[in-house]
């Protein structure tokens, strides 16, 4: 058994009889960047959403830092954990969504501070100074008091990244973080992702941004029909892809 931070073994999931994930094995080393690519419907997002138990798999295991996510072993079976236990496990796994999903009734800073104060019990003053630092890190110093609706899509997504980072996660999941953005705003979000990668954040990113994958990914994983078709360094996998069937990617 490897000592990878994230280990996925035999992950299987079907929606209403349609198999979406079919025995996926995946290792993500601490401090590495893994980019998931594949045609739509190949199961990328479902795989990502299983990792923090937003979707419940039908079979297979996910461990983060040696801890089984969402389940405990019960003889031959995996028994789902109590809601409270799963919530506690999710604190170590940050997630960024395609549609940002900032809390609309809270300012940017309140969005970032909400979970550290409410879930981890960090003192508000401490959480706020950390929140300001995180917003500054994603290039949003001075916009702490803006409501999400007053921010551009790119700014909202950067606040969403800061919000996830505020929990000090061991692992960050990005579900097509730039797909809902105007082309002109994609760059500023990718720049934040690059910065995180350089800083050693462990990341799993679902994206169609080929250039980003080539530049930042340590491993590119290609999903097809719920299975891992290929995986390896971007130079190998992406070049192969462009020869074979590049157009189907996007």
């Amino acid at each position: 058994m490897s000592d990878a931070l994230l280990q996925v073994r035999g992950l299987t999931k079907a929606f209403a009889g349609t198999t979406v994930l079919d025995g996926v094995d995946l290792d993500v080393e601490a401090g590495s960047v893994t980019v998931l690519v594949g045609p739509s419907g190949s199961g990328k997002s479902t795989l990502l959403r299983c990792l923090n138990h937003l979707e419940t798999p039908d079979a297979g295991t996910i461990t983060v830092d040696g801890e089984l996510i969402g389940y405990r072993r019960d003889g031959e079976r995996l028994r789902e954990l109590a809601q409270r236990r799963i919530a506690a496990q999710r604190r170590a796994i940050g997630m960024v969504f395609q549609q940002f999903q900032l809390f609309g009734h809270m300012t940017a800073l309140a969005n970032v501070v909400e979970a550290p104060v409410g879930v981890l019990g960090v003192a508000r003053s401490e959480a706020e100074s950390r929140g300001r630092a995180l917003l500054a890190r994603v290039g949003l110093a001075g916009r702490e008091d803006a409501y999400p609706r007053q921010l551009s899509g790119g700014q909202q997504q950067r606040v969403a990244i800061a919000r996830a980072l505020a929990m000090d996660p061991q692992l960050m999941l990005f579900d097509e973080p730039t797909s809902a953005l105007d082309p002109a705003l994609v760059g500023e979000v990718l720049e934040v992702l690059r910065d995180l990668a350089r800083g050693g954040t462990t990341m799993v990113v679902v994206t169609h941004e080929r250039a980003f994958a080539r530049e930042v990914a340590d491993t590119v994983v290609v999903l097809e029909h719920g299975r891992i078709a290929r995986s390896g360094p971007p130079s190998e996998v992406l070049d192969q892809l462009s020869e074979r069937r590049a157009p189907s990617l996007d």
């Binding site: 796994i93 969504f97 879930v119």
Partner: protein, 312 residues
């Protein structure tokens, strides 16, 4: 001012600084003036008749508006409204949470509750509670199907006032549950998902993330509901609870000044509902935080802007 020719070049000096461009003037709106005049005449005519018809008995209205009996009735109306709203919504939030839960028993029971209490008139429900003694002569406190810790006669426990409160609250809860449920369903499911992904428990997601955003649509409906409840409490007069309507009825049964005393109740209802409407406006404004790029102006700010705009 700029204009383009086909080739994309600016038009050559179309505007001579000596002759300014023609100014625009609005249409005359003749029909609007005529309609306004007709309506003003009708309103004045109606007001004159209300003011001068002696049957309205305005001096009598003024005489009774502040008397002790009326004010005590008004106090009952007010606390019944407040208690019904608070307890009804507390129960309603619980029912909405049950209805939206994954547990089929909880959601069916919640559905059945709403179905039953919305399907019968409030008056019938009140009469049921008023006559609870005939249905369950003794009430006891204990464990269902288990031992009882003590019991008492229903008529002692449930007098007219408690019967009224029970009836109003249980009825209100059914409507409140639907208002709250609608508000919760109106919040993007992704919001709850994002909060869940941050490690919040389900209760916390509901309390901190979903409900505050659901309030945007819950508040206007609740405002309607509170105003409806305020007026709806007048129905308790049929089971001899001395609200403001029952108070004026008691007086006019003695003095036969029916219309003036009904007007006393009317005036109070209008005053209270107007105050509630103003309150609703400010509560809505509070929950609009973040939902609009800037908060809507208060009526004072709007009035000031209009006066300033008119003067400019």
């Amino acid at each position: 001012m700029s204009s383009l020719t086909l080739s994309g070049q600016p038009a050559p000096a179309a505007s001579d600084p000596a002759t300014p461009p023609p100014r625009t003037v609005g249409s005359r709106h003749v029909g609007r003036w005529v309609a306004a005049a007709v309506v003003v005449v009708l309103v004045l005519w109606a007001l004159r008749s209300v003011a001068l018809n002696p049957a309205f008995g305005w001096p009598t209205v003024a005489q009774y508006l502040g008397t002790g009996a009326v004010l005590r009735g008004l106090a009952t109306t007010l606390w019944l409204t407040a208690a019904t709203t608070v307890l009804g919504f507390a129960l309603g939030i619980g029912l909405a949470a049950m209805r939206l839960s994954a547990n089929p028993v909880l959601s069916s029971v919640s559905w059945a509750y709403v179905w039953l209490f919305r399907s019968t008139p409030l008056l019938v429900q009140l009469l049921f509670w008023y006559n609870i003694g005939a249905l369950y002569p003794r009430l006891s406190l204990g464990i269902p199907f288990g031992p009882s810790f003590g019991s008492t006669d229903s008529v002692h426990l449930i007098g007219p006032t408690l019967a009224a409160l029970l009836g109003l609250v249980l009825h209100e809860a059914a409507y409140a549950a639907e208002i709250v449920r609608g508000g919760i369903l109106g919040v993007d499911a992704g919001q709850a998902e994002a909060a869940t992904a941050l490690g919040m428990t389900r209760a916390r997601v509901l309390r901190r993330i979903v409900l505050p955003q659901a309030m945007r649509s819950i508040v206007p409906a609740t405002g309607n509901m509170v105003i409806g409840t305020l007026k709806g409490t007048s129905i308790v007069s049929v089971i001899a609870v001395t609200d403001v309507l029952y108070a004026v009825q008691t007086i006019y049964n003695r003095t036969y000044e029916i219309i003036p005393l009904l007007l006393v109740a009317t005036v109070w209802y209008v005053i209270l509902t107007s105050l509630l409407s103003v309150g609703q406006y400010y509560v809505e404004r509070y929950y609009a935080r973040g939902a609009e790029r800037s908060l809507p102006p208060t009526p004072w700010q709007r009035l000031r802007a209009r006066v300033a705009g008119g003067a400019a």
